[in-house]
């Protein structure tokens, strides 16, 4: 079995190699500025060419009820539906709603976990955009608490 340390060593070695070969296509690095500046869930969906979002049981959002600290809030988005193009996590009351957008391919499951920053207690959305331009969502309120000595 490979230890974590070996993995690391290997990672560092290949890093420069991959960079040098230019293995990653440039178009993989598109960044949808409009989507990341949008304030509402609907505007984010629109920025990705989808219609008005509707609530759906086929989209799953995993997030805690209470976050001990808003700086790191675990969130997972998943969908059981076929034909999902994008999965996104959004925090409604953040300065910009969109946290992350993942592209689904045949090679990965429609299931991603990441961690978001939350400025305050807010509804959190998991949104799925289908190949035919539908936006489906699940939502949940996550409370952000004040912790520690507060100084």
């Amino acid at each position: 079995m490979q230890t974590r340390r070996d993995t690391l060593k290997q990672s560092m070695a290949v890093a420069s190699l991959l960079a040098a070969t230019g293995l990653f296509p440039r178009d993989a690095f598109a960044f949808n500025k409009a989507a990341f500046e949008a304030r509402s869930i609907a505007d984010v969906a629109k920025a990705y060419g989808a219609g008005a979002p509707t609530e759906s049981k086929d989209v799953t959002l995993t997030a805690p009820d209470i976050a001990e600290n808003g700086a790191v809030v675990p969130m997972a988005v998943a969908s059981s539906l076929p034909g999902i193009k994008h999965l996104m996590v959004l925090v409604e009351r953040n300065p910009s709603a969109l946290v992350a957008k993942f592209d689904v391919t045949d090679a990965v499951e429609a299931n991603f976990s990441t961690r978001a920053k939350m400025g305050q207690t807010s509804d959190v959305y998991a949104v799925a955009i289908t190949n035919d331009g539908k936006a489906l969502y699940a939502k949940k309120e996550v409370k952000v608490t004040l912790g520690g000595c507060g100084g």
Partner: protein, 222 residues
């Protein structure tokens, strides 16, 4: 040759002494007095930084000194000593200059929420918080509260304070003011800061906290 031997012998003697030393630490000179060592360490280990000056630990008052010693010994303070310290602390309490004990509970809630002020990263003259929620439950709405002190939810209601200005409420109103101003007046070694006495909160801030606890309109008493 002779010289070499001499060096060898002395080297052996030294190493023997070192072994002996490591093996029998108790045989060293009588152990240093930990109280003195601690006092010395405090002097050499802390430095003034910003508004947090070293005298905050090198020059503490008698109340703290005696309570600290009692904690180290693991024994409560002698009853007579405790009484003497409480009386001394009671004398420091500054009662409201205009006889007005209660301010605005909404401001009180904000002061109770804040844990800021007086650290080496704070600036002089900044508004200090009361640190209240760190240790106490106060209003029902705030779920992030500490449990070092007792719950203060329904503080006034439980003590039947219907009108804080009434003669009937006077003893509890005065006690509450005194407790916030100098908690050691009622319990010499209390964990609670002496917010008024040590200059952490202003008279006006204490009034606001009083209102949070005692005003029948405060969410605390709903």
């Amino acid at each position: 040759m002779k010289q070499t031997l001499l060096i060898l012998v002395s080297a052996l003697a030294t190493s023997a002494a070192m072994v002996g030393c490591a093996g029998r630490p108790a045989a060293q000179s009588p152990a240093a007095d930990p109280d003195q060592v601690a006092a010395q360490m405090v002097k050499t280990s802390f430095r003034s930084q910003g508004i947090a000056t070293v005298d905050r630990v090198t020059n503490i008052d008698e109340t703290l000194k005696l309570c600290n010693a009692a904690d180290v010994a693991g024994k409560p303070l002698d009853a007579a000593v405790a009484k003497r310290l409480e009386e001394a602390n009671l004398k420091t309490i500054k009662w409201p200059t205009d006889g007005k004990y209660l301010g605005d509970w909404k401001e009180g809630e904000q002061i109770a929420q804040s844990g800021r002020g007086m650290t080496w990263t704070d600036t002089a003259g900044a508004v200090n918080g009361g640190n209240c929620y760190n240790c106490h439950q106060i209003s029902k709405q705030e779920i992030s509260f500490g449990t070092i002190g007792p719950s203060l939810y329904n503080y006034g209601k439980l003590r039947a304070v219907a009108d804080p200005g009434s003669a009937a409420s006077k003893p509890i109103v005065e006690y509450t003011w005194g407790k916030i101003w100098n908690a050691k007046a009622y319990n010499a070694c209390s964990n609670m800061p002496r917010s008024g006495h040590m200059g952490n909160l202003t008279e006006q801030q204490v009034r606001h906290i009083m209102a949070l606890l005692l005003d029948p309109q405060s969410p605390v008493n709903k």
